[in-house]
């Protein structure tokens, strides 16, 4: 098990009280696994159960496989324009 630092923005950063959260993952875990692991963290208990995930600055699907060097972010509902 390794730790990845996941970036948080806007409402999610406010809910957690930090712009990042450390999440345990295994090499080859999917985005779905990552979200399960986040849900198990006490620090993330205020986050919504479902969130969009970006990997290396692109939206990822639940089945996207993660690598320890990936840049991972949770993306709150966007509101540009």
């Amino acid at each position: 098990m390794s730790i990845v630092t996941v970036r948080l923005f806007a409402s999610y950063a406010d809910l957690v009280g930090s712009s990042t959260i450390d999440v345990p993952i295994r090499q080859g875990d999917t985005v779905s696994d990552l979200l399960d692991n986040i849900r198990s963290l006490p620090a993330a208990s205020t986050l919504p159960a479902i969130a969009r995930v970006a990997v290396n600055r692109t939206f990822a699907s639940d089945t996207t496989r993660l690598h320890l060097e990936d840049e991972i972010a949770l993306i709150p509902p966007v509101a540009g324009g």
Binding site: R7, A10, S11, R57, A73, I75, V78, A79, G80, G81
Partner: protein, 146 residues
Amino acid sequence: MSRSSLVSRPIDAASLIAEVSGDDRGAVSLFVGTVRDTNDGRPVDGIDYASYVEMAEGELARIVDEARERFGVAALVVEHRIGKLGLGEASVGIAAAHAHRGPALDSVRYVIDEIKKRVPIWKLEHYTDGTRNWVDPTSSASEARG
């Protein structure tokens, strides 16, 4: 030509028009989004725009590329402002030019619609009563209408 930028200075619509204009282009279309004084019935006195800048820049560029390919516009520029904006200030400016009006109009509509779906930018609304709130378009009927 095309360009997309996140900016922290005021957006100048006239300069966007000038940037896309050309003698071979009979149509220039412009969209400017501005800060409105109410949202969901609450009086607003300003908005902080926040962004995941590195991803937003890439996503904006992809949208512009898609619009150019889809509509064949000769020129397309987009600027989205980040930071604190007051009422009436422009948050986004999109200008497109084509020989004819159809693609110029359609490409601008495409770009603003896609920005609202997938560019990681967020609004922290400040209300006149001193409270503030992150706008969540997925839980707000009025915001979903755009």
